[in-house]
């Protein structure tokens, strides 16, 4: 007994190494990569780790013939069906991959197919995320098309209440019973620790990759879903009321500065999504359409903006389209006014 206590003491004070125990058995059960030959894809595969979904956008031929994904998992984990097994998507059954960690934990990923082909949205149907209680848009039966910063804000310890998140459904609708409401909110005590004092409301076509949410937040918002043809106009309705006090990244109020919103569509070539670092600058951009000013609009305001072509294209190559909206234009650098409110309804990309 004495010797044991002396060991603790010696261990603690002299050499903490002595009491390092055997490592825990790996409890992690991620599908880390899910690789399919690029020629079968219309968008890079995205694994939604938060919701345990694998988003696949396949060419029509690949959809018919099936694909053979190569899967890697967390160290020591196993997956069923195995890596290299073919995946056929023509039947109506839900395709699932079950990962078992070295420690025996199980995680089930479901395949979610993209490619809706309808480029008009009314924001009538919303889902509620189970664990973190934020809302997300469901359009034409798919939750994998529109995304937002909500999954990132969930990591900052906001209260688990849909109204605490900057993107949510609002009954203040132009058409139907709901619209998408984006409200810039203050940061949390936790986000302040990594220098974030403000969260802008965001809504975009694409996916949110939480892996980078803290380390490289501009890369967490991945913009774009597959598009084909030539878009003519970006149309819709919006309302905007900037918040009272504009603040910089450090949270200092800048007198006389007014917040503004941003709302734009970008068509680009390729199958790899753009992110907040290159959505305006990539040399893959083919055409853009942006509301001319982000100033206040007290009443529902229609916009109808022709796409401006930045480089010639045929409309038959592999392309992606992103729509990006923010209640604070500089929200990507955590600047804006708390309370700035952008409401969007009845958006459409007209061919």
């Amino acid at each position: 007994m004495k010797i044991r206590n002396l060991c603790y003491l010696a261990t603690l004070i002299v050499s903490l190494h002595a009491c390092i125990k055997d490592p825990p058995i790996n409890p992690e059960a991620d599908i880390e990569t899910f690789s399919i030959d690029k020629k079968y894809l219309t968008a890079d595969v995205f694994i939604d780790q938060a919701n345990r979904k694998i988003f696949l956008n396949l060419t029509p031929d690949a959809f018919k013939s099936g694909v053979t994904p190569v899967i890697t998992t967390s160290a020591g984990a196993t997956v069923v069906p195995a890596s290299g097994d073919s995946l056929h998507l023509d039947s109506s059954t839900v395709k699932e991959y079950v990962v078992t960690s070295a420690s025996g934990n199980k995680k089930v990923y479901t395949i979610q197919l993209g490619g809706m082909g309808i480029w008009a949205w009314d924001f009538e149907t919303w889902g509620l995320q189970d664990h973190d209680r934020y809302q997300y848009v469901i359009e034409h039966g798919s939750s994998s098309f529109w995304s937002s910063g909500n999954p990132g804000i969930a990591l900052s310890g906001v209260p688990k209440d849909p109204m605490e998140y900057p993107l949510r459904a609002s009954a203040d609708a132009y058409h139907g019973k709901s619209a998408a409401e984006l409200v810039t909110r203050k940061g949390t005590a936790l986000s302040a620790l990594i220098g974030i004092k403000l969260f802008a409301g965001s809504l975009f076509i694409g996916v949110f990759d939480p892996q980078n949410a803290l380390a490289a937040p501009l890369k967490a918002t991945q913009f774009g879903e597959p598009y084909s043809g030539k878009p003519l106009r970006f149309v819709g309705y919006y309302k905007y009321q900037p918040g009272d006090q504009y603040q910089d990244k450090a949270g200092n109020i800048i007198a006389g500065m007014k917040d503004s919103c941003s709302l734009y569509a970008v068509l680009f070539k390729g199958t790899t999504r753009l992110d907040a670092t290159n959505i305006h600058t990539s040399d893959r951009i083919l055409a853009t359409a942006s509301i001319p000013d982000g100033g206040p609009r007290a009443a529902w305001t229609r916009f109808d903006i022709p796409f401006k072509i930045t480089q010639p294209y045929t409309g038959t190559e592999k392309m992606m389209m992103a729509i990006v909206a923010s209640s604070s234009k500089d929200g990507d650098t955590y600047k804006g006014a708390i309370g700035s409110r952008l409401v969007l309804d009845s958006l459409e990309v007209v061919k």
Binding site: Y8, L9, C19, K21, A50, H131, D132, G157, K160, A189
Partner: protein, 259 residues
């Protein structure tokens, strides 16, 4: 953890029993020495530094590597009043200002944490990566001891202490790793660097066991070593920043001066 507490309690009980026996023998001796020995009050100034850790008793397996450890500047200063009941036996009570601090760098794996914030926020997850923690808590402590003085040079004491916190620091960074939202099956979020500060969560009252020995090196001066082993976790039960309790386990090395 309870097991260990019980073991320590057992150890103390054992020591107390044997001291009681010694006491009995001593009383026997005392009767022959009554003329030579006078019951006296003694006063001492205590000064030293605390070395040790605010640490778990037995490292959990989520701690994979200790990269560095150093004591913080942790002075200890106090006054002790003792009463020698017999030539060899007495009792002492002291009041001390005790800083207890350390800084460690370690690496953890699947380390569960729940962080709650003053604005009502809450984040729960498992962290894998590097951690740097600095602790520096200041207490007013009151040790009470049985004192045994077998001869001219040595003086031993054993007892308990109660301590009240008057200033606390418990902060650090996590870096070069990732946290999984909600637990080990949640999504992975890379962390390059983030800070934490649990200073306001530290309990205001600590109590534990203490004991040590002093060796007289001058007429009034002794060198002194005293182990203080906290038995109360420094964070309250509802604190979930770490899923194991931390205790103040510090060795005071210093001098005592008899006045």
């Amino acid at each position: 953890m309870n097991k260990i507490t019980i073991k320590i309690a057992g150890l103390i009980l054992g020591i107390l029993t044997s001291t009681a026996q010694l006491f009995a023998q001593d009383n026997g001796n005392e009767q022959t020495n009554t003329k030579r020995f006078k019951k006296i009050l003694e006063h001492r100034i205590l000064a030293g530094f605390n070395f040790g850790g605010t640490a778990p008793v037995g490292l959990p397996n989520t701690i994979r590597k200790i990269n560095s450890y150093r004591p913080e500047f942790s002075p200890s200063l106090g006054y002790e009043l003792s009463y020698r009941h017999t030539e060899k036996w007495g009792a002492a009570i002291a009041v001390k200002l005790d800083y207890k601090g350390m800084a460690t760098k370690d690496e953890v794996q699947y380390f569960p944490t729940i962080i709650t914030t003053s604005d009502g926020g809450r984040f729960e997850g498992d962290f894998t990566g590097k951690n740097k923690t600095t602790v520096r808590n200041a207490y007013i402590s009151f040790p009470i001891s049985a004192v045994y003085t077998p001869g001219n040079r040595w003086r031993f004491n054993l007892g308990v202490y109660a301590a009240w916190l008057f200033s606390s620091n418990f902060y650090g960074t996590v870096s070069d790793g990732y946290i999984r939202n909600g637990g080990s099956l949640g999504e992975k979020v890379n962390i390059t660097s983030a800070t934490f500060d649990f200073g306001t969560e530290v309990r205001s009252f600590d109590a534990g066991l203490q004991g040590g020995a002093a060796y007289r090196v001058g007429k009034k001066l002794s060198i002194d070593g005293n182990l203080n082993w906290g038995l109360r976790p420094i964070f309250p039960d509802d604190f979930k920043g770490m899923d194991f309790p931390l205790y103040n386990i510090y060795l005071t090395l210093g001098v005592t001066y008899k006045i």
